[in-house]
Assembly symmetry: C2
Homo-oligomer: 457 residues x 2
């Protein structure tokens, strides 16, 4: 307490009074701090180049937990703590093989595939069969068991390039990966090949989780690069005898103990009112998990660091939360909400950054009309920074379980045009993140958190 | 003529009447064409990977002229023609050497430098001298001849990271490169080292043109990477005896004949009213000139291609212009304006794309109040595409000579955060351009050109 009094006195003497400073000025200071003296980019370098891939249950995930704990402790946040959570432990095993065989035109041709997360492996013998191609589940149903049984189902619906919001294009195609394999298995398919969820034509396959249904055979499943999906599709059109071979070595192991990592600045006036800003700490295993979601993690830590660096004492308690296991289970997000309820914590807002570290363009909010109008009313404060889109509807996977406790959810929205080049691939590495975009996002997030802290929501 | 009648009939029968379609619908079709069936990205691949670097006077520049001519001819534009222009012919010669010498701490240390465009070389003997560091010309003046004579002047003012518009930050630092060497020479300096004009700290030096003054000795000059500028600056602070050595082999050769390349769709109602959309075809020699300005060139061609592909018959004449020699002379832009005046051509608007192939965020216009208000009034048509910034003030280097003929100038504005990572460097290559961003920019440009064609300006 003595320390805090001293800190307040010291800062009051050397800087200025936040009570007498306009929101415009404070937001300008936040951006200046992020762009001139920001830590987010160097934090990201540590998390991606130092820790690297961190799929739930992996040693990398454990390292990421410890890195987050140490990093937030080093910044002197008021409290840094872990929340225990049991997480699934899926492992990919050795590199996958994908091969078009029996092609009249090409003979045998290797293609780029990766096993879908949570999927069972083919084992060393692989899986080989004729292929049936469908664009959606209706076409699968129309084919029926007779034409699907014993075959590999190839789901080939592309993301719609005409949609400006590529997340809408993603949603429009992602059920192929999420439940395609289990739908195919219902009709007797022995494997599934899913067109990568990408906005681009290239050779890079995109993994991501699939979910097997209860009482449905679990069949192996891979994502195929968009270029190779086009190749396979073209070859099939005049080559009905073509077969596909793939070999995956993935498997699900028993659950493992892991953690959410929480850092906290204690509120001076309303310490029991909690504002969360977070991202997910786990990543896929193929790369360093830079845009997904290293950027969201370091931006969340940076929000608190900026406040401390500016000598800003929040009225409410602000938490940076690194959620565990968003990618293949959402156990961390569920655990956080469960503990909030158990402990009778009052969350007045939760924000998530999980759309990559790109140029900030806006925020979306899901709450009451009053909450939504309040946030949207702050829009003009952000236009000087090129941020124009404040809209109804938003959140994030990890914070979504808080919605049942009526917590308003805010999704940070960066530009989405480049995200689905990197998402869930082997190229989602540090080099794919631009320093200024990352920093501007952190500043935008800190500015909204500041306004919520000052005015409530 | 028979062909055009047939085309009109054919399109009328199979597509729809543009007269009865709202601007919103036509702009949606333009974006769909660009994003679903666009050619800009493949054109850029040809121009960067196929042609490559194309500094004025180089064989690459000649190849780029021929590529542009063939490409626009292949699209069946109504007219494709060249405009002769004599251009400077500067050559870099063999790779530069930069070295900190006599450092107490590091001894001799190589650093990353590139000769400034148009600069004279040191020759094989190099230049070596003690260094004086300045942030601006005032500091240089304050030092005076006594402290500068026989030294190398190190200009070390960074771009201001706090500015949202990085072009403003660039403008705030670029006189060091443009006239720093000649200013230093006035005080007897024998060489100049200029901090790279970059928004980032890294090892990549940025070239760009310098301009020698009349009756001032021409001294050799290099740009040094931002990391190495920081190193040099830090070492100098406690090491006044430190020296700098650099070796450059650049020289200016006699002027060479080159060309602007123009492609044209003839207007059906007002063929004598010309709308220009362009970029510059020349690039620096260090890389493929992707963002600077391959993207502007292919986007300009794409504007006309999209109109043709949609069966849109412009009322006015629309020209895609690939200007030559923006980088180190602006001869092409000047020649274009000169010929326009000579030929009594009436230009009703000129647009340039020369800020990289990044996410479109707006347009700026320099014209009469009425022209400016008209363009800005179209803003709401672009908000569905995330494009919010329609503002007064804009243009581009190549179209700027048209301003004396009262032509309203429009600058296409993409997001600027990443540009000064690539600008004038060895990494401004095809891989640095994102397909969707490039295509969205072309669509935004085509939409504005469509509106000008329909309503005038």
């Amino acid at each position: 307490m003595l320390k805090r009094l001293f800190t307040l006195f010291f800062l009051g003497a050397t800087t200025f009074s936040y009570a007498q400073t306009s929101d415009e000025q404070i937001i300008r200071r936040i951006f200046d701090e992020a762009l001139e003296k920001g830590h987010s980019y160097e934090m990201l370098r540590e998390l991606t180049k130092g820790v690297g891939a961190r799929l739930s249950g992996s040693p990398g995930a454990a390292a990421a937990v410890e890195w987050s704990r140490q990093k937030m402790s080093s910044y002197g946040f008021d409290r840094v703590f872990l929340q225990e959570v049991m997480v699934p432990h899926w492992v990919r095993g050795k590199k996958e093989i994908g091969r078009i065989v029996n092609s009249r035109k090409l003979g045998s041709q290797d293609v780029n595939v990766v096993a879908l997360g949570n999927s069972v492996g083919t084992g060393p013998g692989g899986t080989v069969a004729k292929v049936v191609k469908v664009n959606d589940f209706q076409e699968l149903t129309a084919l029926g068991r007779e034409k699907v049984e014993g075959k590999i189902v190839f789901f080939n619906r592309p993301m719609d390039p005409k949609l400006m919001d590529t997340f809408r294009a993603y949603s429009g195609a992602s059920n192929q990966r999420g439940t395609g394999p289990t739908e195919a298995a219902k009709y007797g398919a022995i494997g599934a090949v899913v067109r990568s969820l990408s906005s681009f034509k290239d050779d890079v396959p995109h993994t991501g989780s699939t979910r097997y249904g209860l009482n449905v055979p679990q069949i192996p499943a891979v994502a195929i690069s968009t270029n190779d999906a086009d190749l396979l599709s073209d070859l099939m059109d005049d080559d009905p005898e073509l077969e596909f071979y793939f070999e995956t070595h993935s498997r699900m192991l028993p659950d493992v103990l892991s953690y959410n990592v929480v850092g906290e600045l204690k509120g001076s006036e309303f310490p029991d009112e909690i504002i969360v800003v977070g991202g997910h700490l786990d990543s896929w295993d193929l790369a360093e998990g830079a845009h997904d979601d290293g950027t969201g993690c370091v931006q969340s830590i940076e929000v608190l660091r900026i406040m401390k660096a500016m000598g800003y004492q929040p009225k409410r308690t602000i938490r940076a939360v690194m959620f565990m296991n968003e990618e293949n289970g959402l156990r961390g997000g569920r655990k956080y909400a469960e503990l909030a309820e158990e402990n009778g914590e009052k969350h007045i807002a939760a924000m998530e950054s999980d759309r990559g570290g790109f140029l900030p363009i806006g925020f979306g909010i899901s709450g009451t009309d009053a909450q939504q109008n309040k946030l949207i009313g702050w829009k003009t404060l952000f236009e000087p920074y090129g941020i124009y889109q404040f809209k109804v509807g938003g959140g994030g996977a990890d914070i979504s379980p808080l919605r049942t406790q009526d917590v308003p959810l805010i999704g940070y929205i960066p530009d989405s045009q480049r995200y689905f080049k990197y998402h869930h691939t082997a190229i989602d590495n540090f080099e794919a993140v631009n320093q200024r975009e990352l920093e501007m996002g952190a500043a935008a997030m800190a500015s909204v958190i500041y306004l919520i802290d000052k005015y409530g929501l």
